[in-house]
């Protein structure tokens, strides 16, 4: 290091070895700086503490629980302790012996008396559809106890108890932790030997649904871009008065209930709706050729594009507003046609806004629930509708959690890819 006094500031004579700078009262500069900035940081921390707690309680904890639920289900293991213990002690492939049947009989009786047999049946039913009734009816018969020999007595109740697949499934469920929900979410299942195989063709629904969710979200992102870009440009370039008015129109959807907007689309697009009526009246289509524009994918795309449009327009607008018009003028004066000036000068500068808008719209679309539920029909349902179904109808929360976790993972991967390609720092949300 050069002599510190060379820059005209006079320091105390520098010792031969470097000790670093010190403050006027002799403390090392570095630690003095750290101390003074630590105080400021601590104050700032206390200010954001309430928000931090709020986020922790309402966001991090529930998501953690959801993730846990996707791999943990105690419906079987907690209510069938003896059989679970037997599974634990005997390796896979062991034929159920007398001890196993005795454990099953004891657990069935106990569960029936504790009225938890339904929970057990539900848990097994997730992995092997149609078995819930097996448990509930066994529970009814076993309430008074089961007499030995247990194997014969139980097989007497229902011969299906001898099914090796049932035993394989019960073995899986005997451990509270399982990856089966994730397997099911990607259309995989386990065979009798516990190996992972493809689910039967008619049960392969999730893969298709994920793919459809992805493509529809992409289509919606593309249409919001095509429709939103010119609007954002107008917003950014019109004189104040007109642009304020336009901004109100853009924001208007936010002030109306989502349900009202969605049902308005039903009114417009249904077969006896306004659009079809007009087309028939104009003679574009015949009365018997009315278009199916709602309760299918078209309906989902149209309604969701409308709802998500502001999320594309606003980031684009905020970026476009900062683009000085002299850039395009400079390009024009340098000999570029207006198209070239747009393509090579204007458009690249809107990319941070476009990236933010596209990411926002895509992520919102991937998880959208209410609109596809209302206007999607059967072909316009997205993965979130399936999650909702597991939450409210089949009550298979573990399955819902697994699907949601996969969705979350997908979004995070997308985010990562975006960061790789464009860089998150280039994101401009407003």
């Amino acid at each position: 290091m050069a002599d510190t006094s060379a820059n005209g500031v006079s320091f105390a004579p520098a010792p031969a070895h470097r000790t670093g700078l010190v403050t006027a009262d002799g403390r090392p500069l570095r630690s003095a700086l750290a101390r003074s900035s630590r105080r400021a940081r601590r104050r700032a921390f206390f200010l954001v503490l309430p928000l931090l707690l709020f986020v922790l309680i309402t966001f991090v904890v529930p998501i953690g629980q959801m993730l846990q639920r996707s791999v943990k289900n105690e419906g079987f293991s907690a209510n069938m302790p003896q059989l679970s213990a037997w599974f634990h002690d005997n390796p896979r492939g062991t034929e159920p012996d007398d001890a196993a049947w005795a454990a099953l009989a004891a657990d069935l009786t106990a569960a029936a008396q504790a009225r938890t047999i339904g929970v057990v049946g539900t848990r097994i039913n997730y992995d092997m559809p149609g078995t819930r009734s097996l448990f509930t009816s066994a529970g009814r018969q076993a309430r008074g106890g089961i007499e030995p020999p247990y194997r014969e007595a139980i097989l007497e109740m229902d011969a299906r108890w001898g099914n090796p697949r049932l035993w394989s499934v019960m073995r899986e469920a005997a451990s509270p932790y399982t990856a089966n929900f994730y397997l099911a979410a990607v259309d995989r299942t386990r065979d009798d030997q516990g190996d992972i195989v493809s689910a039967p063709a008619q049960q392969q629904i999730y893969g298709k649904l994920f793919l459809r969710t992805f493509w529809l979200s992409l289509a919606i992102t593309a249409t919001t871009f095509l429709l939103g870009f010119p609007v954002a440009h107008l917003l950014a370039t019109l004189p104040m008065r007109q642009s304020n008015l336009l901004m109100i129109l853009v924001l208007l959807p936010f002030w109306t209930s989502l349900l009202v907007r969605t049902t308005a689309w039903i009114v417009l697009l249904q077969q006896q709706g306004v659009v079809n009526d007009v087309l028939v009246w104009l003679g574009v289509i015949g009365n018997n050729q009315r278009l199916q524009m709602i309760f299918n994918q078209t309906g989902t795309i149209i309604a969701m594009t409308h709802i998500l449009l502001p999320f594309m327009i606003l980031p684009l607008y905020s970026v476009m507003r900062t683009i000085n018009p002299s850039y395009v003028r400079a390009a024009r004066s340098l000999g570029a046609t207006s198209w070239t000036a747009f393509r090579r000068i204007y458009f690249p500068q809107t990319l941070p806004g476009l990236g933010a808008g596209a990411l926002l719209v895509f992520i919102l679309a991937v998880g959208y629930y209410i609109t596809p539920a209302l206007v999607g029909g059967s072909s316009g349902q997205l993965i979130s509708n399936m999650i909702a179904m597991h939450m409210t109808q089949t009550l298979n929360w573990s399955m819902a959690a697994a699907l949601a976790a996969l969705l979350l993972g997908g979004v995070l991967i997308l985010y990562w890819v975006y960061d790789r390609l464009v860089g998150i720092d280039n994101l401009k949300l407003g």
Partner: protein, 378 residues
């Protein structure tokens, strides 16, 4: 080359609209249909000339430049470039280089790409492009910076790149709209010098906009002083300063003493003016039509003398009361009361033996009648 044209002009007087490189003829511009921002602009610019549009804010300089560049259309009148009317030619086919006040360097491109842009849109090959880019960068001594982004350059460096980009495709005409406005004083003066050098070396025609009169005077072959949408005077710098054509120009350029009065006698360009306090002075009639007219007499501070031995022969002498002496380093600026006006300024150089004036003292000052110019009343 510009020297030659300037010399030629000195012989033949003003450039005529017919042989001009750039010509504005009766150009008017209105943005809102109610007020004229540019009123009847007539301007002829010779090839190779450095012409500056100078004027206060809002006087229509940028608007005139934008009409020439093609970003605004003239509401009426005609603009010609090299003899051809260009009112209907879109900006990208006018082939005019332009330097913007904020430089407008494309932020997402490197310096090299910025310079390549005008060459690419003209379809030049890579080899030819590289050569031209290097030449242009060397011209502004920025050869090492081709791979930087504009954001990684200082203001002065960005300015040079903007200049290089406007020149890289060899335009005949370059427009600059307050290109140095964002630079500090020292850098601005340095860049003024460099732009002027460049102009003389490559002989392009430059139309330059500024509201800094010093810049206009030092750089230009001719200066057009704008006010209120009109050219007030179009003349070489020395003439503009020494022989302002009206009160606005006299006030706007340099420091100026004014004495209000009425024309008592008029004989050719000699006028006898009666000042407010009844005193009669000789003056040169400039913007004067008739006897009895109200006038403002303009005298430059440095042409006023107060030492009897320095007084030019034939000087008009008048009594003055010293009000204030302001020390300004190189000069002592003395404010005094002359013929009723208390904002009359006299500048004396701060030399070793300079006689010190003290406030309250009454002295006699004088000037040559030629330096007293009777102009329109303010």
């Amino acid at each position: 080359m510009s020297k030659a044209t300037a010399a030629a002009r000195a012989d033949t007087g003003a450039v005529t609209a017919n042989d001009a490189f750039v010509a504005f003829e009766r150009v008017q511009k209105s943005y809102d249909g109610e007020t004229l921002v540019v009123k009847d602009l007539n301007l002829a610019i010779a090839r190779g000339e450095f012409l500056t549009l100078l004027g206060p804010s809002g006087s229509g300089k940028t608007t005139s430049l934008m009409m020439l560049a093609g970003f605004e259309t003239a509401t009426s009148g005609e603009i010609r470039l090299a003899g051809r009317p260009i009112n209907a030619v879109p900006p990208h086919r006018r082939g005019i280089g332009m330097v913007f006040q904020n430089y407008a360097l494309f932020p997402h491109m490197t310096v090299g790409e910025n310079l390549a842009f005008p060459l690419q849109v003209r379809g030049l090959g890579k080899v030819e492009r590289e050569a031209k880019i290097m030449r242009a960068l060397d011209m502004v001594q920025m050869g090492r910076f081709a791979n930087r982004r504009p954001a990684q350059l200082s203001g002065g460096q960005q300015q040079r790149i903007a200049l290089a980009r406007a020149l890289v495709f060899d335009p005949d005409l370059v427009l600059m709209d307050e290109p140095l406005g964002a630079l500090d004083k020292q850098l601005r003066e340095h860049m003024q010098y460099e732009i002027k050098q460049l102009h003389e070396r490559i002989g392009i025609t430059v139309v330059y906009v500024t509201h800094d009169q010093g810049e206009a005077l030092t750089m230009s072959d001719r200066v057009a002083v704008f006010n209120d949408g009109r050219i007030q005077q179009l003349a070489p710098p020395a003439e503009l300063y020494e022989r302002p054509g009206n009160s606005f120009v006299a006030q706007f350029i340099g420091e100026n003493n004014t004495l209000a009065g009425t024309i008592e006698q008029l004989q050719g360009d000699r006028a006898l003016v009666r000042l407010g306090n009844g005193e009669l002075i000789d003056a040169t009639a400039v913007d004067i039509r008739e006897v009895g007219q109200v006038t403002t007499v303009s005298i430059r501070p440095e042409r006023v003398e107060f030492k009897p031995e320095m007084m030019p022969p034939g000087a008009h002498r008048i009594a003055a009361e010293v009000l204030e002496v302001i020390y300004m380093g190189d000069v002592l600026r003395t404010r005094m009361k002359v013929a009723g006006a208390s904002d009359f300024v006299l500048k004396c150089r701060n030399t070793l033996g300079q006689r010190k004036l003290t406030p309250g003292e009454t002295i006699e000052i004088g000037w040559h009648p030629e330096d007293a110019r009777a102009l329109d009343p303010v």
